[in-house]
C-alpha cells in the first residue's frame, strides 16, 4: 500500500510537469502542440550530451539543458507556429512535423540505443518497508516545488497577469498594451522548460532513446483531456488520477496493462464528460 502511495506520487509528479506545460500553451494560445513530447526527449538528450559528452557537472548540465529546451520552445513558436497560428490544423501539422524531425535527428545523431543520464542521488531511501531510489524522491520534491512556483508565477506576478489576460482575450490584451505575441512565445518556452525539467529528473531512472517523447506526449494528452483542456488544476488532478491508476493496475493486476489505463480514461471522459473534469475554456 505504501509502495503504491510513493511510486504513484512520483509517476503523477512527472505526468503533472508534462501535462501542465501542454495545457498551459493550449490555454493561452489555443495551440495543440504535438511537439510537446519532443521537449521531453530533447531535455533528456541535452542533459546526456552536457554531462556525459562535455563532462559538465550535473548540477550545471541540468539547468542548462532546461534553458536550452526552453529556448528551443521559443524558437519553435516564433519560426514555425506563429505564421500558422490562424489555422488549428496548420499548427497541428507543423508541430507534428517538428516532433518527427526531432526524433529523426536524435536517431541519426545518437542511434537507437538507450543512453544513460546520471542521477543526482545514487542511494536508496527506506520509508517504512519500502525501498525507493533517492532520485525518485528528488523528482517528487522538485516537481511539487516547480508546480507551486508556476501557480505563484501565474497568480502573483505581472507576467502571470499578462498570461491570464492573453488567455482570456488576446486581442483585448493587445489593446491594453500587452504584447500577446511575446507572451505566446514566453509561454511556449515555459511549457518546453517544464517538459525538459521532467526529463532531467526522470531520465536517470526511465528510458532515454529517440522515440521517448511519444508516450509522454500521449499521456499528457490523455491527462489534459481528463482534466479539461486549458486548466492547470485539472491537469494536476488528471495527472494524479492517471499516475495512481497506472500504479495500482501495475501492482494489483499486471504491468502489461498499465498503458491501457490512459486510453480507457480518455474514452470514458470523452463519452461521459467531454469537457473534462475542469473543462472550462482558459480556466486557470
Amino acid at each position: 500500500m505504501l509502495e503504491i502511495l510513493l511510486y504513484g506520487a512520483v509517476t503523477s509528479a512527472i505526468y503533472a510537469l508534462l501535462a501542465v506545460g501542454f495545457t498551459l500553451i493550449f490555454g493561452v494560445a489555443r495551440i495543440l502542440n504535438l511537439a510537446h513530447g519532443s521537449f521531453y526527449a530533447l531535455g533528456a538528450y541535452a542533459t546526456y550530451v552536457l554531462s556525459s559528452t562535455l563532462h559538465l557537472p550535473l548540477a550545471l548540465a541540468a539547468p542548462l539543458a532546461v534553458l536550452c529546451v526552453a529556448g528551443f520552445g521559443v524558437l519553435l513558436e516564433r519560426v514555425l507556429v506563429r505564421p500558422l497560428r490562424g489555422s488549428q490544423i496548420g499548427v497541428l501539422m507543423i508541430t507534428l512535423a517538428a516532433s518527427l524531425v526531432v526524433e529523426q535527428v536524435l536517431l541519426i545523431t545518437f542511434g537507437s540505443e538507450y543512453r544513460n543520464v546520471p542521477s543526482f542521488i545514487d542511494g536508496k531511501v527506506a520509508i517504512g518497508h519500502v525501498d525507493i531510489g533517492g532520485q525518485r524522491l528528488l523528482t517528487l520534491g522538485v516537481a511539487v516545488v516547480a508546480l507551486g512556483a508556476l501557480l505563484l508565477l501565474i497568480h502573483r506576478t505581472r507576467f502571470g497577469a499578462a498570461i491570464l489576460a492573453v488567455s482570456q482575450d488576446p486581442e483585448a490584451a493587445q489593446y491594453l498594451g500587452i504584447p500577446a505575441d511575446r507572451v505566446f512565445a514566453q509561454v511556449m518556452g515555459l511549457s518546453a522548460g517544464l517538459a525538459a525539467l521532467a526529463a532531467v529528473l526522470a531520465a536517470p531512472f526511465l528510458t532515454v532513446q529517440p522515440g521517448m517523447g511519444l508516450l509522454p506526449m500521449v499521456k499528457a494528452f490523455a491527462i489534459v483531456i481528463v482534466g479539461g483542456l486549458g486548466s492547470i488544476p485539472g491537469s494536476i488532478l488528471g495527472a494524479l488520477l492517471l499516475g495512481y491508476s497506472e500504479t495500482i493496475v501495475a501492482y494489483l493486476v499486471s504491468t502489461s496493462w498499465t498503458e491501457l489505463v490512459s486510453l480507457v480514461a480518455v474514452l470514458f471522459t470523452l463519452v461521459l464528460r467531454p469537457a473534462g473534469l475542469f473543462g472550462k475554456r482558459a480556466a486557470f
Binding site: E3, E113, Y114, I132, T255
Partner: protein, 410 residues
Amino acid sequence: MAAYRHVLSALIPALALVAGALLPSAASAQTGPIRIGVPTPLQLQVGRDTIDAVDMAIREINAHGGVLGRKLEMVVADETENPETGINAIKKLTADEKVDVLIGGYTSGVTLAQIPHIQRAKTIYLGIGAASPAVTRGVRTDYENGKYIFRAFPLNSQHQARALAEFINGVVKGELGYSRVAIIGENAKWVQDLVPLLRKGATDLGMEVKLAEFFDTQTSDFSPLLSKVKDSGAQFLVVILSHASSDVFVKQWYDARFPMLIGGIDVKSMDADFYQRVDGKAQGEIAANLGVRAPLTPKTIPFWDAFVKKTGRAGPVYSAFGAYSAVMLYAEAVGRAKTTAAESVIKELEKTDHVGVVGRLQFDENHDIKAGPGFINLFFAQWQDKGERVVVWPKEQRTGKVVLPAWIKK
C-alpha cells in the same frame, strides 16, 4: 484488326529481345559475384554488428580467391523491428537485388512475417538473430516450401529454456542454495514460447516459482514489478528480455537495491559496453551470453580481436558470431555443391559440420542449429567489479565464482 496483328507480331520479338537483355541468363548468374543479402535492423547494435561480421567473413573468403572462382559481395536492407519494413527488405533483396542467399534477422515477429516471402522467392535464408522455434517450423510441416529456411544462430528459445534450467539447477539451486525464483519476461513471441518451458523446468527441479509475469516491451518503469517480486519472497529473479530496455531495468533494480539477485537472458546486457552504459549499475547481474572472449573454439579469440580492431567497439554482440559463421558455412556449402543453385546448396547445408567462432555448427532435421556441450551453448557471465565479465556457468568454461552485491544476503 489485321494492322493490329501486324504491329503485335513485330513487337513480340522486340519485347523478347529487351527482356533477354534485362534479365540475367542462367549462365551469367553463375559467373558474377555471389550476392549475400543482409536483412537486419540498421539502427541497432545487433544490426551493425551483423553487417561488420558479414563484411569480415566476405573479405577473408575473397582474400583467398572467393568461392568457385567468384567473389562474394554484400547487399544490405534495413528490416527495422517492424514486420512491414522487414517484408519490404526481403522483397528488395530477392526481387530487385536477386541475391543468392539471405543472412540476417533479429526480431522473431519480423522474421516470421518475412518467411512466406522468402519461400516464395525460393531463396536460402540463414537466420542469425531470431530465437522463436516457429521460425523453422515450416521445414518439418511442409519441407518442399520450408526447406529454404535455416537458423544458423542463436539457439532457439526451447534450447535457451533448457540451458537456463541447467543454470538454475547448477548455480541458483546448487551453489547459492536458493529455492524460490520469480520469472519475468517481455511480451514477445520468443519469450511467450520460452517462459512456460522455463517455468516447468524450474518446477521440475524442485524450485518454487513465486511469480511469472510478462511485461510490455515499451515498459519504462519496472519498479512495480520489482516490488511485486520482492514481496513474493523470491530470492532470484529470472528476467528474459531483448527488445525492452535492459538499461532501465538494471538501473531501477540497483537504485532501490531490490534484495534479490537478477539474471537470465538479457540481450542488451550482452553488449560489451553495457556496464559502462548503465554507470556500473549492472554489477551482480548474471546474463546469458552466446559467446565470450575465451578459447571456445580455435577461432573465437582471433575473431573477437579482429572484430574489435575492425570496429573499434569493445566486443561483438551475439549476432556477429552467427553472421560470420553463417557466411563461412554457406561458402563451404556452395564450394561442395559447386553451384549456387538453391536446391543443391540446401542439400549441402543440411550436411554442415562447421567449427564456428563459438562452437561446432550442425543443423538438426528442422534446419535448426544443434545445442548443448560440443555444439552451441549459453554461457552465463556475471558483471562484477569494474565491469569485468566473469563466466560462472557452465563449469567447464568458468572463470570465477558468483559474487553477491553488497546489499544481498545469501
